[in-house]
Assembly symmetry: C2
Homo-oligomer: 319 residues x 2
């Protein structure tokens, strides 16, 4: 069983691209032609919506396959669609994995011990059923978790890492504006709360460092704050950093590059709307419609690869 960190770094290296495709499919992102076909095929609007989202996801995954190695479905958008959404999520994960992509479940779960265990089993693929059998509805490769409850809420996910070769990304410093309200509060030792979280993440990850030099316990660090990214990179030398905020949220490739190590490894950079809706980017204005979402996403994924690789090279030569 290959540890998640080894699988992740190898997958990123194989495509030469640290970009993660975020799949946060609001129904309005789906081109009209797909929505109309689904509406004809399914009388129930929920089933039609889930089918439309699934076709959109599959075609998007096919389009960026070989250019992007990691995909991050945002659980909220699937849960919103009820039972059909749960099926759409499972099918999306399976399709990505059939293309050789790794799947990070963006669920941001955090709960007390037994409940965290139920979430870990549900998301990472070993749900116990009433007859004693075990089912993998969604067998994601890794999952995002919230640290507020401490190790009790994280341990069951760490156990799943060890048992199943999976990974965990703990929220350390998020990219949203109000992250400052609690994460940046100064503790009595003069350091911000997110550094205390980072120290714990380093502790939880230490026994889980694999051959590649990185741990299967990673950290979410918002690229909108490059100075913090540099500090956290130093506090977390063995944590793969999952960087949100690139593209639509406003962070540049140079901001994101602050999360990479001196060899240009150890981070992955999420882009959701800027890939899903690449057809709507200003640089294509006037020439593309939603129906061009596949070629636009492929072009944009290639542009992101160049953009990030160049920024990482600049950072290496600055160091």
């Amino acid at each position: 069983m290959t540890p998640f960190s080894d699988r992740l770094l190898a997958a990123v290296e194989a495509v030469g691209n640290p970009t993660v495709l975020g799949l946060d499919p609001k129904p309005e992102y789906v081109p009209a032609s797909i929505r109309e076909r689904s509406a004809k095929a399914f009388a129930d609007p929920a089933a039609a919506t889930a089918a439309a989202v699934l076709e959109f996801n599959r075609r998007l995954l096919d389009a960026v396959s070989g250019i992007v190695a990691v995909v991050k479905p945002q659980y909220a958008y699937y849960e919103a669609l009820g039972p059909d959404g749960a099926r759409c999520l499972a099918d999306t994960i399976r399709h990505a994995q059939s293309l050789g992509m790794l799947v990070i479940a963006d669920a941001k779960r955090g709960d007390i011990g037994p409940t965290a265990e139920a979430y870990a089993r549900a998301i990472l693929g070993e749900t116990p059923l009433a007859d004693g059998s075990v089912r993998a509805f969604q067998a994601a490769d890794a999952v995002t978790v919230n640290p507020y409850l401490g190790i009790d809420g994280v341990q069951p996910f760490l156990d799943a890492c060890d048992r199943l070769g999976k990974g965990v990304f703990v929220l350390v410093r998020t990219s949203n504006p109000s992250a400052v309200q609690f994460q940046d509060l100064t503790l009595e030792d003069g350091r911000p709360l997110y550094e205390a979280v980072a120290r714990r993440v380093a502790e939880w990850g230490a026994p889980r460092v694999s051959a590649c030099g990185y741990s299967s316990v990673g950290a979410v660090v918002g690229a909108t704050w490059p100075q913090q990214a540099r500090t956290l990179r130093a506090l977390l030398p063995h944590a793969v950093v999952l960087v949100p905020g690139y593209g639509a949220q406003g962070a540049t490739a140079d901001d994101a590059a602050a999360n990479f190590d001196a060899q240009g490894r150890g981070a992955v950079v999420n882009a959701s709307r800027s890939l899903m809706c690449a057809y709507a980017l200003k640089r294509h204005e006037g020439s593309l419609t939603a129906e061009d979402f596949e070629s636009a996403a492929r072009d944009e994924a290639e542009r992101m690869r160049r953009d990030l690789v160049q920024a990482i090279e600049r950072k290496k030569s600055d160091a």
Copy 2:
């Protein structure tokens, strides 16, 4: 549209019982007779498990109806069962509401703005579909949320409170042992992090105080820490406190009573395993089996009512 806080306090007063039935149905909690019947009716073990859990939930809700007014499904156990679990959750919520009970969705969600909005809409009952229609798969009355991302992750839930008459319970101080790791860290002003969270919860709740004197923005405060409960009660005079940890987690009725105001109002107390598996309590040992879960749960709910009411009275006479 009656605000959630008014609805909640009226519902609790009508049964004279602040107990919340936590529905965290591990498959092994379900009596063998129900599991066997479901296994015969459904070839798919996942469908059989979800059907067994739904029958267990329904019968448990029927058994405590009129004694308990509030129910709190723990989302992890339903998500674990895939599409069938999503349906089981929705049917459980509907059944509770058909009995006049209020439903607090224990989902502990926390995410950035647009995603938090998707979660709020999903859980509180207004999912937008591809054809422009809106669906309520689960229309819970309130939901638990995690504060780590700050107001960005909470605002969409507050908007749903205002728009739909719903409620929110923000995690302030949880009942699990490792809550100390971050929630109890001392800030530079000498106060613990959970007090900073409590001050924000008071601020978010202030514009949402209804006729009963309480806000639709409540707080989760673990009863395993009664001294903290008293401090937080004072910091949060208008927040309904959702108290986990009573019963199986070890807190006593007197511990829980610290969360009530001088009139004996303003808190609800969760009991999950001690009601779901009341048949297994030592006080019934030798006399009951899992097949007696309904009468055992009803008796235990009545005992909890007496236990909590007496503890609240003791607290009132001490004050």
